[in-house]
């Protein structure tokens, strides 16, 4: 084992960590917001159909193809090149982020939908009879209960998105995987380099797992035999 090489490799891979984290956090934020909107749309019949079609398409096609479609495909349309969005859409960064957000929204909206369906009807009725507005019920009762229900499934999605950010390396971006790929083509020491990269992803996943377990205990202490908040 060439520890000097491994050490150097870690150091240079970590230079890609900020970009990886950037894609990861922003796609979760954007995807989560869009997922909430998709679920609110589901309260109307047309909105439900649109949201259903959206989820069908983005969950049913590979993320890699979605990234390529946005990065290579959109430029083929004249109106896209004319639009005010072109300064963004010609940048690989924004194309990658957009693809990740759209993809994450599809999965997260289904996770949230499951959580919302699990909210007991009686809890909502109790809100209504206390005179709460629809918005207050959503904010104070429905979403908090749905979120607690969805948390275990959502922590999977969070880890899944961390790994999905690796795909942006295919459109020239130098995230951790991008740096790893470049290093491999220079040195041909694929196994060591990929192990280093995998170890960093693994370490972050471990943190997520620990955090979500802690968060779950904190949000729903009664499930864990704690009698007071």
């Amino acid at each position: 084992m060439d520890f000097t090489f491994l050490g150097d490799m870690f150091a240079s891979l970590l230079k890609g960590l900020p970009l990886t984290l950037n894609f990861w956090v922003l796609s979760l934020l954007g995807g989560g917001t869009l997922a909430l909107i998709l679920n609110l749309m589901r309260t109307t019949r047309i909105g439900n159909a649109v949201a259903g079609a959206y989820v069908f398409v983005f969950r049913g096609t590979p993320l890699l193809i979605q990234i390529f479609m946005i990065y290579y495909g959109l430029a083929g349309f004249g109106f896209v090149r004319q639009s005010f969005l072109w300064p963004f859409l010609r940048e690989p960064y924004w194309c990658g982020l957009l693809a990740l957000i759209l993809n994450d929204a599809a999965y997260t909206s289904e996770i949230l939908r499951g959580g919302l369906r699990a909210v007991p009807k009686g809890a909502v009725e109790a809100g209504r009879v206390s005179g709460m507005t629809r918005f207050a019920i959503l904010r104070r009762i429905t979403l908090p209960l749905a979120f607690r229900q969805a948390l275990p499934a959502y922590s999977n999605e969070v880890i899944s998105m961390l790994k999905a950010t690796a795909l942006v390396s295919t459109i020239t971006l130098m995230d951790m995987t991008g740096i790893a790929r470049a290093a491999i083509s220079e040195t041909w020491r694929a196994v060591e380099i990929l192990l280093c990269a995998a170890a960093i992803y693994l370490a972050i996943s471990l943190l997520v797992t620990r955090f979500s377990a802690w968060f779950e205990r904190r949000l729903s202490p009664w499930h864990f035999g704690r009698t007071t908040p």
Partner: protein, 264 residues
């Protein structure tokens, strides 16, 4: 409690006229007229499917009647077509603010502690100060015998305790009338008594109560009035003595004899 007295005003606490409701082809309520004055304790009895729970749920518009009028205090609603407009929804919210509602299945908010359940509406609907809401909630929890459970989670309480918290939660809204939808039907037999005791104390305080119940002995003891529903219509309406001892109709007699034979 003084606030029960404060809210008394002219006119009935609530009234219902010509109320009709169908679920699909099933006509559940077929023209109900009922009104409650402040201080009335009205028990609504009847066989399963007679429409008594639906009637109770129509008052705060948890079910929207097909026709008829519901009045609570100064607010009145006559929804058409089984739905509420935006303006009617606002009126309904005001009406709900004047009513407490206690469900068969308690329906406490499981993600909030006992105290948080009780102060929710005072804080976030009625915009009272936290100190005032907490003080009042503490007093109410003491009243229902659960002062020591204020920081417990609903999941850690028995059914009877949860229902008593639900009653405290309803009282915290300072309602003009409290509606009970079979408050003891989901409880183990040994827990029924503690809940009935609390409801009885509310009746003795002079609060206005509408109680849908299968507890005939309780209805006879605490009510000022008993209403018997049969197939969506009011079959009997009178004092407990009138309804239980001298029911006018054969149907009422049959229903009551069946019940008292079973419970004795």
């Amino acid at each position: 409690m003084t606030d029960a007295v404060e809210t008394k005003a002219v006119g009935p606490a609530l009234s219902i006229t010509g109320l009709r409701k169908t679920f699909g082809a099933n006509e559940v309520l077929r023209g109900i007229d009922l009104s409650a004055r402040d201080g009335d304790v009205i028990s609504m009895i009847g066989a399963s499917g007679s429409g008594k729970s639906t009637l109770l749920r129509c008052i705060p518009m948890l079910e929207i009647p097909d026709s008829g009028t519901v009045t609570v205090g100064e607010d009145s609603l006559s929804p058409k077509g089984g739905r509420l407009t935006r303006a009617e929804e606002a009126t309904a919210r005001r009406m709900r603010g004047h009513l407490g509602f206690v469900f068969q299945n308690f329906n406490l908010w499981t993600h909030r502690t006992v105290l948080q359940n009780v102060i929710e509406a005072p804080l976030f609907v009625q915009n009272r100060s936290r100190a005032e809401a907490v003080d009042e909630a503490t007093a109410l929890l003491e009243k229902v015998g659960l002062a020591e459970k204020r920081d417990a989670w609903p999941a850690h309480l028995s059914g009877g305790q949860q229902q008593r918290v639900a009653i405290a939660r309803a009282l915290a809204q300072r309602p003009r009338a409290i509606l009970f939808d079979e408050p003891t039907s989901a409880l183990d037999p040994e827990l029924v008594g503690e809940v009935l005791k609390v409801i009885r104390s509310l009746a003795e305080e002079g609060r206005t109560l509408l109680i849908v119940t299968h507890e005939m002995g309780f209805a006879r003891d605490v009510s000022s009035r008993v209403v018997l529903l049969h197939q969506g219509q009011i079959e009997e309406d009178g004092t407990p003595e009138q309804v239980f001892a001298n029911p006018r109709s054969d149907r009422a007699r049959a229903f009551l004899s069946g019940h008292f034979d079973r419970t004795r």
